[in-house]
């Protein structure tokens, strides 16, 4: 490749990676609160609500994310002649965000549930006997141990999410793999070149490396208690 071609390739890859990062962060920011809500519904004493959430979690975790992406992007238009996503890249991004947030919220909700259940009943009772309010018990007693308990499984999911963003290629979102693949098919005077596609892997590795370092630092910070 000439120097000029290299610049073309990396500009395209950077742009694709930006879209990857955007989807990653939007999913994370949306799926954590939604995951908490799903968990609350799942643990609710209102039977219909809890059953509904269990069904949702089962469907979302039991079926491929790729299919969920296709359904969310295409089915409203095909089945109801309703076009919530609008056209172009922004429409695809909106659809992908919704699919990813719902999918990851269901996974997160189960992790959060495990975190809550990892706190022994005696912690709450000790707080009550010491005259604390439910609110104080949650924030001062349970929250940090819960956070510590969910951090390792959350780290796993977060690393997986980075890679899962590439699935949005199925609805032609222009994330980094889409960008790399374009040079294989041929674009801007470069075709049949597989190197850019290989190079996308380096982007993933570098970003996940960074995340791994940050997350394990956070885990270390919480090592002071057991």
């Amino acid at each position: 490749m000439t120097g000029e071609q290299i610049k073309i390739v990396f500009d395209a890859l950077n742009l694709g990676f930006l879209q990857t990062l955007r989807l990653f962060f939007v999913t994370l920011i949306g799926a954590v609160p939604l995951g908490l809500l799903v968990m609350l519904g799942r643990m609710s004493r209102v039977k219909p609500l809890s059953l509904l959430m269990r069904a949702l979690i089962w469907i979302i975790r039991g079926s491929p994310l790729v299919i969920q992406l296709l359904i969310i992007y295409y089915v409203p238009g095909i089945a109801f002649n309703w076009h919530p996503w609008g056209g172009g890249e922004s429409g695809r991004f909106a659809a992908a965000s919704v699919a990813f947030i719902i999918n990851y919220a269901c996974y997160f909700s189960e992790i959060f549930r495990g975190g809550i259940q990892s706190i022994p009943r005696g912690q709450e009772e000790a707080g009550l006997v010491l005259g604390m309010t439910k609110r104080q018990i949650f924030f001062k007693v349970k929250l940090l141990p819960m956070f510590k308990a969910v951090l390792p499984p959350m780290s796993n999911e977060i690393i997986t999410l980075v890679k899962d963003t590439s699935l949005s290629r199925i609805i032609a979102l222009q994330e980094i793999i889409w960008a790399g693949q374009a040079f294989l098919k041929g674009t801007r005077g470069i075709s049949g070149n597989v190197l850019p596609l290989f190079f996308t892997g380096v982007y993933y590795l570098a970003f996940n490396g960074l995340l791994t370092i940050l997350l394990s630092r956070l885990e270390k910070k919480l090592d002071y208690f057991r």
Binding site: G122, V129, L130, G131, M132, K140, V141, K148, F225
Partner: protein, 262 residues
């Protein structure tokens, strides 16, 4: 006036009646120990006193004030329950220390949170907080834990954890401090240090209810002993009397079993 008056407490879990017509009184400064075989309802009774369980019938009075009355819907579903349970302290068999806080922080936390509700808190914040701090240091010193103040629970032995838990309960100055088998989760060589601390509290006339399987301790430390059997108070009285001349057949059987083991 009695510091504690328990009248006709009854508690059911589903169909099984775990406590039946429990009535007794306590005087200020008295150490009462409760003995009885496993499943006789000792823990449930302490949990009722600490509002962790709601009795199905009966009343609980502290210093003449009715804290709980199963017949009075208002006193039963009381929103002020949080304040009322502060009349009692509870030391659990399994300590239940908060793992993310040091020994000192464990002792101080509840007091700090309660202080925020005091009307003069904003104006006297630093004095209030340093008072709480000084009290926590003093309590841990009493428990022989001055050098462990900055340790986290996982760094402490079971006996040390239990002593921190006792300091934590004492920090709120409850009228009546309850112990639920405070040494049962400990290795035998660690029970002594916890029993010694409780004995010191008894010597200083701390009002206490001690559920225990340590018969020698119950006999020597308590001013009065209650023997529970199948959710009822079977026999109560002076420890020397109950241990040496039990009147009830069930008490005799229970104590005989212990003598065999010893």
């Amino acid at each position: 006036m009695h510091i504690l008056e328990v009248q006709g407490i009854q508690k059911r879990f589903g169909a099984t009646e775990v406590l039946s017509d429990i009535s007794f009184t306590m005087e200020r400064g008295e150490a009462l120990s409760i003995i009885g075989s496993s499943g006789s309802g000792k823990t449930t009774l302490l949990r009722c006193l600490n509002f962790l369980e709601t009795p199905d019938a009966g009343r609980i009075l502290v210093n003449g004030e009715t804290l709980f009355d199963a017949a009075d819907a208002r006193k039963k579903r009381d929103r002020e329950i949080r304040k009322k349970r502060l009349h009692f302290g509870l030391v659990f068999q399994s300590f239940n220390l908060f793992p993310q806080y040091t020994a000192l922080e464990n002792v101080k936390l509840a007091g700090q949170l309660l202080a925020r509700e005091r009307p003069d808190y904003q104006n006297h914040k630093s004095e209030v907080l340093s008072e709480i701090d000084a009290k926590a240091h003093a309590l841990l010193k009493e428990m022989g834990l001055s050098n462990r103040e900055q340790s986290y629970p996982f760094q402490l032995s079971g006996g040390q954890c239990q002593r921190v838990a006792i300091a934590r309960a004492l920090a709120l100055e409850p009228d009546i401090l309850c112990f639920d088998e405070p040494t049962s989760a400990l290795d035998p060589e660690l029970t002594g240090e916890v029993l010694r601390v409780i004995r010191e509290l008894a010597d200083r006339n701390t009002t206490m209810i001690i559920v225990t399987h340590e018969m020698a301790f119950a006999r020597d430390v308590a001013d009065r002993v209650i023997f529970m059997d199948e959710g009822r108070i079977c026999e109560q009285g002076d420890p020397k009397e109950v241990f040496e001349h039990p009147r009830e057949e069930r008490t005799k059987q229970f104590l005989a079993r212990y003598r065999q083991e010893a």
